[in-house]
Amino acid sequence: MSITVKFFARLREQIGQGDVTLSSADTVQSAWEQASNGMAMPDNTLCAVNMEYVDKNATVVDGDEVAFFPPVTGGSYAR
C-alpha cells in the first residue's frame, strides 16, 4: 500500500509534478514535506484527504489520497 499525493493548478507547476506516490506519511504536513521537492507550503494552501477538506495537521493512513491546491476560483468571473 502507499499514499498518493496530488498537486493542482499553480502548485503543480511550481513543484513540477502532479502526482507523487509515497511509501508512508503520518500527517498531511509530512506528505507535503516528502512530496514537494523542498518547497515551503504557501499559507493559503488548501488540503484534502480522500477528496474532503482537512487541516494540514490531519492524520494520513495507508491508501489515502492527499491533495494540495491553491484557493479555488470557480464560477463566473475571472476576478
Binding site: F8, A48, T73, G74, G75, S76, Y77, R79
Partner: protein, 144 residues
C-alpha cells in the same frame, strides 16, 4: 438533481429547458431562478483571450453534489441543477449554470444565490487566464 462537469461548450438555455422537460412535473413549480456565468474578454485592465479551467476530478463533482443537497435541505425546493465547464474557454462561452425550481420565488432566488456562492468558495476549480503576452493564474474571486 445533477451536478455536471462539461468539457465542451454548452447552451444554458437549452440545458434548462431539456432538464425541465425531462425531470420536472408540469404545474408543480411556480418559480424557476437561474444564473449563467459567461466568460468576459477583460480582467484587471487586460484583454483576456482565453482561459483554462482546471478541476479535481471526483472531488469537484462530489462538492457540487453536496452543495445541491444542502440547498435542498435548507429551502423547500423541487429540484436544482448545476453545470460547470472545464478545459479551454473563450470569451462569451458560458462557464457555469445554476438553476433552482420551487413553488415560490423567495426560495428559488435565495437558493440560486447560495449554489453560486458556495460553488465559488468550495468547489475545486482553478482559472488560468491567457493574455496576449502569456498566462496567469487567477487567485481570487470577484465579490458576489
Amino acid at each position: 438533481m445533477p451536478a455536471d462537469i462539461r468539457t465542451a461548450p454548452f447552451d444554458p438555455w437549452q440545458e434548462t429547458q431539456q432538464y425541465q422537460q425531462a425531470h420536472l412535473e408540469a404545474g408543480k413549480y411556480g418559480a424557476t431562478a437561474s444564473f449563467v456565468g459567461t466568460m468576459r474578454d477583460f480582467n484587471q485592465g487586460d484583454d483576456v483571450t482565453s482561459m483554462t479551467l482546471e478541476h479535481y476530478p471526483g472531488m469537484t463533482e462530489s462538492y457540487l453534489g453536496k452543495i445541491c443537497d444542502e440547498a435542498m435541505q435548507r429551502w423547500e425546493l423541487i429540484d436544482c441543477l448545476i453545470i460547470h465547464r472545464v478545459g479551454e474557454i473563450h470569451p462569451n462561452d458560458p462557464i457555469v449554470l445554476t438553476v433552482v425550481w420551487s413553488a415560490h420565488r423567495k426560495e428559488a432566488f435565495e437558493a440560486c444565490r447560495y449554489l453560486m456562492e458556495e460553488l465559488k468558495s468550495r468547489a475545486p476549480f482553478w482559472k488560468k487566464e491567457g493574455l496576449e503576452n502569456g498566462h496567469r493564474w487567477v487567485d481570487k474571486n470577484t465579490p458576489g
